[in-house]
């Protein structure tokens, strides 16, 4: 199972949109996964495979194992779907 994290700020705005878009893309592509939302500092110690976040927060993420994917437009299903597909293919899940 792929361990996916959405790294966000406060959990009220952007993170809700990102989580729902990611869930939709992962389910659509039939990826067996877990999906959690956390912040940039908390994700450092997590056993994660894939981390999705914004450009600015991406620079703050220190997680040696996971692949970090930067999302630019959090509302765009096409962008998020394509990035999920590419990342899943790359890590061979």
């Amino acid at each position: 199972m792929l361990k996916v994290f959405a790294v966000c700020g406060m959990g009220l705005g952007t993170s809700i949109i990102l989580k729902s878009r990611l869930k939709e893309a992962l389910n659509k592509q039939g990826v067996d996964h877990s999906l959690e939302v956390t912040d940039a500092s908390a994700v450092a110690g997590q056993d994660a495979d894939l981390i999705f976040t914004s450009e600015e927060l991406g620079e703050k993420i220190r997680n040696k194992k996971a692949k970090v994917v930067v999302i630019n437009n959090f509302t765009d299903r096409k962008e998020i779907g394509a990035k999920v597909e590419a990342a899943v293919a790359e890590i061979g899940a």
Binding site: G9, M10, T14, I17, S20, E56, N72, N73, F74
Partner: protein, 151 residues
């Protein structure tokens, strides 16, 4: 539906602001004027955005600043300020911003429908363009209403 959360008193256009702080204050003021939030919510929105940074800029030209429920939110509501000239928020990919959707929520779950509807609205570039082209509050309300019907 998005229209259920947008009071026409919480919409303004042609707003002239000098920077992102003023843009957020303008949007926060709309939430206060439409009785969605207390006075203190406005500065809390500015502080929250300082903490979160350009992360509130979720799509090209679009920001969704907010504060916490305990910062004086009175209900789940949306406000919209359309800026006359876009301003920088510090987002590498999505600056400059001219559509500022402020929102308030009474707890971390109460605004789920609002936020999903807002994301779907913003995802359609033609909706954002229509807001930028609108000349009256009534036009903006009609755009939001139409999108709610088609959603």
């Amino acid at each position: 539906m998005l229209k259920d959360y947008l009071d026409s008193r919480a919409v303004s256009l042609g707003d002239e602001v000098k920077d992102w702080r003023a843009a957020i204050e303008t949007t926060g003021r709309l939430l206060v004027d439409s009785e969605a939030a207390e006075e203190k919510y406005v500065q809390a929105m500015v502080r929250t955005t300082e903490e979160l940074g350009p992360y509130v800029v979720i799509a090209p030209g679009v920001a969704i600043p907010h504060a916490r429920p305990e910062d004086g939110a009175k209900k789940v509501a949306l406000g919209l300020s359309v800026l006359s000239e876009p301003v920088e928020f510090g987002s590498k990919e999505n600056d400059p911003v001219d559509l500022v959707f402020g929102f308030s929520t009474t707890d971390s779950e109460a605004h789920m429908e609002l936020i999903q509807a807002l994301a779907d609205f913003i995802e359609k570039e033609e909706n954002c363009q229509a807001l930028r082209d609108a000349e009256t509050v009534e036009e903006i309300m009609a755009i939001v209403e139409r999108s709610s019907v088609n959603a």
